[in-house]
Point group: C2
Chain length 327, copies 2
């Protein structure tokens, strides 16, 4: 149900909005803007909108919608190594969304405020004749000059990813009735991965001095790696078989056509995808054990442009994925 990454959207931003960008806007091609904060720190600012019927189902529990809205923004902060500070909330609600919906929605926010140690700074409430439209602008803090941008990847850096990839795309496919899970446990796990991202905040903050470039996986692994490549002026290759899959995703993949493209191209996992010099391998291993989130090496940055997906024999694989250019 999540809209696929619109290349047209990126082009529109480049053409109409990038010329308006401030210095701290990072050319509008990163996850956040950076502005000076107090005491040697910078605020990282990010904003995301979700629309009923486009980004979530009308009958999704309002508390889950609230949490997902907050967490997709917190994930952008995680991807820069920032710690969450607070957020602004904008709600445009149709008349059909009454107080019961709002009560459950605000309860979801309250629970996640506690979970992540943040609070509401302000916002705007309005009525709309259209679908429920919800925006969060999240603020994080990071030491000045230390935010991990998309643009720092260099040839020879290894490419790493946290957690498992493809779960959320399969969860969504299950919800849409495109895919069936034989086991209830797998079904529940994958749907939960779609509904409730786990922003990798602790991991992101620990990677501030180790990662050369970082992004959260929201447009799909290959598409997001391409964002790093484009911003860094480099190319990349990854081993398709190295991409970490959960047990549930492995179970489903056995019977699923096109499962590789679903895993490598699907979005919404909100894992951290980052690059690092090979010499940092030991330190990254230590961080991984400290925060308790697995990290897997899946490939390498190289000279050139675009992302090459390779099979176990280093032969290029052709995938039908939006945002993926085959060379």
């Amino acid at each position: 149900m999540t809209a696929p990454p619109h290349l047209g959207e990126f082009e529109r931003i480049a053409r109409f909005f990038a010329p308006l960008a401030a210095e701290g806007a990072l050319g509008l091609v990163d996850d956040v803007a950076l502005i000076d904060g107090p005491e040697g720190e910078q605020y990282a600012l990010t904003t995301d909108t979700i629309i009923e019927g486009v980004d979530y189902f009308p009958d999704d529990p309002p508390g889950l919608v609230a949490k997902k809205l907050l967490r997709v923004n917190l994930s952008d902060l995680a991807a820069k190594g920032a710690r969450p500070f607070g957020y602004l909330l904008t709600t445009a609600l149709p008349p059909t969304r009454g107080e019961a919906w709002l009560e459950a929605f605000s309860a979801g926010l309250a629970a996640d405020q506690k979970e992540y140690g943040i609070a509401l700074l302000g916002g705007d409430s309005s009525s709309t004749p259209g679908p429920t439209t919800l925006s969060v602008t999240a603020l994080g803090l990071v030491a000045k000059g230390k935010a991990v941008l998309r643009s720092g990847a260099r040839p020879g850096d290894v490419i790493l990813v946290s957690g498992t990839i493809g779960d959320a795309a399969l969860g969504l496919a299950i919800l849409k009735g495109e895919v069936e899970a034989a086991r209830k446990k797998d079904r529940d796990f994958l749907i939960d991965r779609y509904h409730l991202p786990q922003p990798r905040l602790a991991l992101g903050q620990k990677l501030v001095s180790l990662a050369t470039a970082m992004i959260d996986v929201s447009d799909g692994l290959v598409g997001d790696l391409k964002h790093i490549c484009d911003a860094s002026g480099a190319g990349a290759w990854i081993y398709a078989d190295s991409v970490p899959r959960s047990e549930a995703t492995r179970n489903l993949s056995k019977t699923l056509k096109n499962s590789r493209a679903r895993v490598l191209g699907g979005g919404d996992d909100y894992e951290l995808l980052f690059t690092s010099p090979p010499s940092s391998a030991y330190s990254i291993g230590a961080v991984m054990r400290e925060v308790g989130v697995p990290v897997t090496c899946i490939g390498e940055i190289e000279s050139g442009v675009g992302v090459r997906v390779l099979d176990a024999r280093k032969r290029p694989i052709k995938l039908e994925i939006a945002g993926y250019s085959h060379f």
Copy 2:
């Protein structure tokens, strides 16, 4: 076409969102949130959303829509005495809004960026099956502890307002065909006042040490004065005849039924409404001449609650205005 102030909206905010508020959120009852910035300053954060068919007409020129969107946010900064710093932009566009619309829209932003010395920090672009929904989150800077809040009005303070009041409401009424202007000059002036607010940024910044409470007139003069009273724990009276009216508004008022309620209750003027001890009269006069914006004294803060509107003989006038409580 602007939605009237929803008391229900304020109650919803109080019930569902105020309990979530951070310290700097000012209880969600002020125009902005305040967070620490660099070098003894604070950022003032504000966000406003406008929706096609609710807050503006579908065939309004996109450049004007862009300017109004920016300016209603800048007006909130002006009302705290902050200077503009930058903004985030969120657009949710239906497929019918193509590149020609976006080109004109971004040209409007570019012109106002130049006018106000600000730039775009970031944002989010998405597609919607609903009406065009546009949000700006604006950031301003103000010396720490110096922002003029809504809550500082004290009995005995005089109540002042910049510019003229009622123009935008009449401009909107003309656009909706409810009201006719005999003179083209009046018609153009009033419609322009509705389309293109002039945020009183220079005036607001000069009032930082003089005003005890301040707000911008967006919900209507009486409604916004009531916001100051509620936040300050005080009441107020104003002389209806002291409220400054433009020549165009005076011309239209002659033939218009209910013109007093339209002027005192209509929103969207984006003038500054503020309070000050009578001893500051001389300094405020000097500021007024320096920035070239007229300021008029219209009444006084008193003990009690609510806003009393008085005629020339100090008799209470009953007005049918949303947000106005008669005592």
